[in-house]
Symmetry: C2
Subunit: 316 residues, 2 copies
């Protein structure tokens, strides 16, 4: 059994109100793989880079149980590069530069050893490439999770809708949910989107937490109020990675376990935003993760005891 | 023992993307008293109206255990009137008209029977008037809770800071917390504001829930994702009313009980926004409130079971 991750492995240059970086390693698949590796260190990564990519980072990924046989290295070409600047509120950002480079003609190839993957994470990427990966699998995985973004809703909606029909979990942010369902109410949007294919919808609200919709059930995972949000890049990918890593490790897709998985994802995202890029995710210890999850438990635990009709109801 | 509420009793005219009203009853003290009455129907209301005010609404308040001996009725004068229009996202609004009327020379007088109130809710009002109420009390109440807004931070900061020193709980929204503490981080803002007087800070984030800060503890109460937010007017007041009503009824100021109180407040606010003005709060049944609170319990309950260091930790 293995976990297959597809997405970008990229260079980022990031500017925030707190500082700026030169080219640093990034990309959806990097964050996803790193976050997932703390729970499930048996990952196949499918992506593409140029011959300019940081060898030390690749070695780090391998040391964490990420198999790179599906990572294409294009000689004489450059890796995908993104440069962005966050506004003072950290909730919005401007893209300053995008160089597709190797990504412009990326043809994902799933290695033989990963074709029977039971858990598949389709990181944010052109929907037709996400579909290409699904089409190479030898059988229907136990769980397919998909991340996407508004850009594909504007430029490749038909392809996006096709992939959505094939996935179990879709993760998008609140703005994207409203665009996709054409309604301002997230509750109504969720009902609509769950008719488009995914059995489970996760709406990410950044610093405001995340909502999990499954049938008529809804669960809310808070975001940890942090002293400082340093760099939000990769938060959503870390969230998805932590979530699918936990699901793969526990091999349990019940609603109760999905709730736990979304808390784990939120915890991984909370680490990511505390430092630039993948820095925080590179060297976590189990006890750090444990303690962070306990903070989430404390943050949202209460025991409802007393109600106006004088009954004592111990609801938790 | 009684609960003393000060704040406006007003007429509102509201326009939302879903409809508009003529003059309807509103005002902070109306929402607070109604919400609190479901838990603690022994309330003294201190406010002022003109002789134009809706007698049926006053009777309704009385029927719910709200004593109006502190409600001044100014003959020949008009009640405070506010007219506002919500934007399509319901998160922002424009004030179209404000007529202070009786409010312009309001001198709050606490009735003898309420001077020994154990629980005091200072609804959003000019800080000097909030202070005047506190100064009339015969002894320090068990709990003083205060709501305020950015307008007073701009026009009466010195008075506001004086009242803040006298209160136990301060409720403000996230924008106001950032203004008051001059930092974008809510966690840092909370630390700052807790040094200004209040022992407990509640940061209201509207559709994104509310944060409770107490010493080094933080608790997050989610907002219920509703099918439709119809009219947000009075949501914050209903929240405060539900909260202090629950605290007065349970007479328990422990952190665990504060958490329950903030969930009750969130439940009352969730009713308010589903209809225009005070409509939803006028005729709730205990079972409706009970069921709504259960929705909050379901929304945020999870049991963390499995962690990366292979321990089984049951954290709930």
């Amino acid at each position: 059994m293995s976990l297959l991750v597809i997405g970008t492995v990229a260079y980022d240059a990031i500017e925030t109100p707190f500082g700026k970086t030169d080219k640093i390693v990034g990309g959806a698949a990097s964050f996803i793989s790193l976050a997932a590796s703390y729970y499930y260190p048996n990952i196949h990564l499918v992506s593409v880079i140029g011959d300019d990519y940081d060898q030390n980072f690749l070695k780090l990924l391998q040391s964490k149980g990420v198999n790179l046989s599906g990572l294409q290295i294009k000689q004489g070409e450059k890796s995908f590069f993104w440069k962005g600047k966050y506004h003072i509120d950290m909730n919005s950002r401007d893209t300053l530069d995008t160089q597709l480079n190797v990504l412009s003609n990326f043809d994902p190839i799933v290695p033989e050893a990963a074709k029977n993957a039971e858990f598949v994470m389709l990181g944010n990427l052109m929907p037709s490439l996400q579909m290409k990966v699904l089409n190479q699998l030898s059988h229907r995985p136990k769980l397919v999770m998909m991340d996407t973004m508004n850009f594909w809703m504007e430029t490749a909606m038909d392809d996006l809708l096709k992939v959505m029909k094939e996935v179990d979990i879709l993760t998008i942010n609140d703005e994207e949910a409203r665009i996709l369902a054409k309604t301002p109410s997230l509750r109504k949007a969720a009902t609509q989107i769950l008719k488009m294919g995914p059995k489970i919808l996760i709406i990410k609200k950044g610093e405001h937490g995340a909502l999990l919709f499954y049938k008529d059930e809804v669960f809310f995972a808070p975001a940890l109020p942090l002293e400082e949000v340093f760099d939000p890049t990769g938060a959503g990918d870390s969230f998805a990675g932590g979530m699918i890593g936990y699901l793969a490790r526990t091999n349990d897709l019940s609603f109760e376990n999905l709730k736990r998985a979304i808390i784990v994802g939120s915890a991984m995202a909370s680490f990511t935003v505390e430092k630039f890029g993948t820095e925080a995710l590179q060297h976590l210890t189990p006890i750090q993760i444990h303690n962070r999850i306990q903070e989430f438990v404390k943050l949202s635990s209460f025991e409802m005891k007393w109600l106006p009709d004088s009954e004592t109801v111990n609801s938790r």
